[in-house]
Symmetry: C2
Subunit: 328 residues, 2 copies
């Protein structure tokens, strides 16, 4: 089932301890669309300038991403540059130029209006509301946001969150919006606005799904990030997490809570590939087979009862009897 | 199978946002023993002064904990006092009085010498080595340590870690000992010393098991903490985590990797009860049935493929079709 995504398409300049890139393909909408297109058909709504490289458009088209809603206007594309420190934690923004994006108003093409899945990436919540008014009863609507709108457009964001089915925020944003110090309390405050579920992105700690009612274990699903030997560039991890998640939901059509939980895991897997390269590089040649293989390894990393790991010699080898212990 | 534990028995004075306690039963050995005794027989090795309340000894005896190795000497018991801030994160130590503990030398009673499970709680690594020289081929030996010994007695700690089967440290200690900035690298550096496995305690983030060889998912097991609406006092969480883990291993005798993974989860469950009360209060009347019930809920909180949660109305209720969305 087709997924429509609205958000920023950008040219990113990124520095990390592993290298740097100039004017590479970026933006929340781009990252989301590239990830979701691994699973299902994607329709983009956004804006770029005439400076936007044709090769980037070709890359998106090569993934069967529908660009009917991508406005190409005279002027310059939104650009962002940032630098990550050694621990790849908080990014330092060096420059943000909204350019054409500052006057952006999303226009949903007629051919998109009945998209069953809608993701409102991190943009001005007033624009998210504009999009919600242009669509016909999607099966699932979701939104992302950021600190800038939480402080600057709280009322609009609150209204947008109350209208969607699924809110996707990171841990800091949940605490900031709710004014609570415990994540669990912040999560409840957001669910109280009306959405059926909340997904909390927690970076290298993984993610959490919060649904309604039941015991702690029924209400909260907590799952770690896939462990990687090294991270090349964290940019786009959150957006490709959302893209993988929504892509899986659209592909399976499974909107049960257990389907949602697996969707978070697929998002986790896709994001783990994203951060292994700059821009969307690591997603370009990725296949569903690659994703399935890492999903199997992730199961092995997280499951315990029963353990899905193959019972091999090393796995069943007793841990004890270190022959050097008890050397009296 | 009996578990022998060596470590501190203390009188703790603790302040948290939820209240305070004076001279309550504390110490790593005590916490570990109380937790492990939920699963199997425990033998303590430690020292207290004649000021140590008889009621605390009675409490330990009431759990069938063998106190033959607990020296009761003229003088004062090790005492510690600390204060937790609002977020229950880093504790501020207000006072530490080693008292009799400063001259402590563990003596393993003859009746303990063939204990199949041995846990060396956080004490001077030279004392941990003394204990290792007094035991006869345990089936599993494990140790815990702390920053103080990592910086002050690095050579002895290194030797002790090379002699045990299982090292248990928290995340900060792994990074500090290894001098690495990524946990995964620090973990490998510790496994290179010789232990068959490393357990990394991560506080409210849960824990991780690192074993040898295989894929990422086979080598690393990552599991979150149980989510709690509120924490009363985090003191003893790490020691009761270790106690629950070792207790489960001793009770089942299952030293396969999958058995170890479940042991971490049982440690997680026991620790989650510990922090819901001061001292060992929350463990006093706890039963294996209580643990099993929370284990089931923890499975529900963490598992996804298949989900162990009962398929009820609310669980299978579609997330989508928020009737307020698409209200054009």
């Amino acid at each position: 089932m087709a997924i429509m995504v609205v958000g920023s398409v950008a040219l990113d300049s990124v520095q990390t301890p592993h290298g740097s890139r100039e004017a590479s393909l970026g933006g929340a909408c781009t990252y989301f669309a590239t990830a979701a297109s691994l699973f299902d058909r994607v329709r983009m709504v956004g804006v770029v300038g005439t400076d936007f490289p044709e090769q980037y458009l070709d890359l998106l088209r090569s993934r069967d991403i529908d660009l009917a809603g991508l406005q190409i206007l005279p002027g310059e594309t939104f650009s962002w540059s940032g630098r990550y420190g050694v621990d790849m934690g908080d990014v330092e923004t060096l420059d943000t130029r909204l350019n054409l994006f500052s006057d952006f108003h999303p226009v949903v093409p007629e051919s998109y209006r009945e998209s069953p899945f809608l993701f409102l990436a991190n943009i001005d919540p007033d624009l998210q509301l504009e999009v919600l008014s242009q669509v016909e009863r999607p099966r699932l609507t979701a939104l992302d946001s950021m600190d800038f709108w939480i402080t600057g457009k709280r009322a609009s964001l609150t209204r947008a969150m109350s209208l969607v089915d699924l809110v996707v925020l990171n841990e800091t944003e949940v605490l900031m919006y709710s004014g609570r110090s415990r994540l669990i309390d912040g999560a409840e405050a957001i669910l109280d606005l009306g959405p059926a579920a909340l997904v909390i992105k927690r970076g290298s700690e993984g993610s959490m799904l919060v649904t309604r009612g039941g015991s702690i274990g029924e209400r909260y699903f907590v799952t770690p990030a896939y462990l990687l030997p090294a991270v090349t560039d964290p940019t786009g991890a959150g957006d490709t997490f959302a893209g993988g998640m929504m892509g899986y939901l659209a592909r399976t059509g499974d909107l049960s809570v257990s389907g949602m939980r697996r969707a978070l895991v697929y998002g986790t897997i896709v994001a783990s590939f994203t951060v292994q390269g700059f821009s969307v590089d690591a997603l370009r040649n990725l296949t569903l087979d690659d994703i399935a293989a890492r999903y199997r390894d992730y199961r092995c990393m997280t499951l315990y009862d029963p353990s899905p790991c193959p019972a091999g010699d090393w796995l069943e080898r007793p841990l004890g009897r270190n022959t050097r212990a008890g050397t009296n």
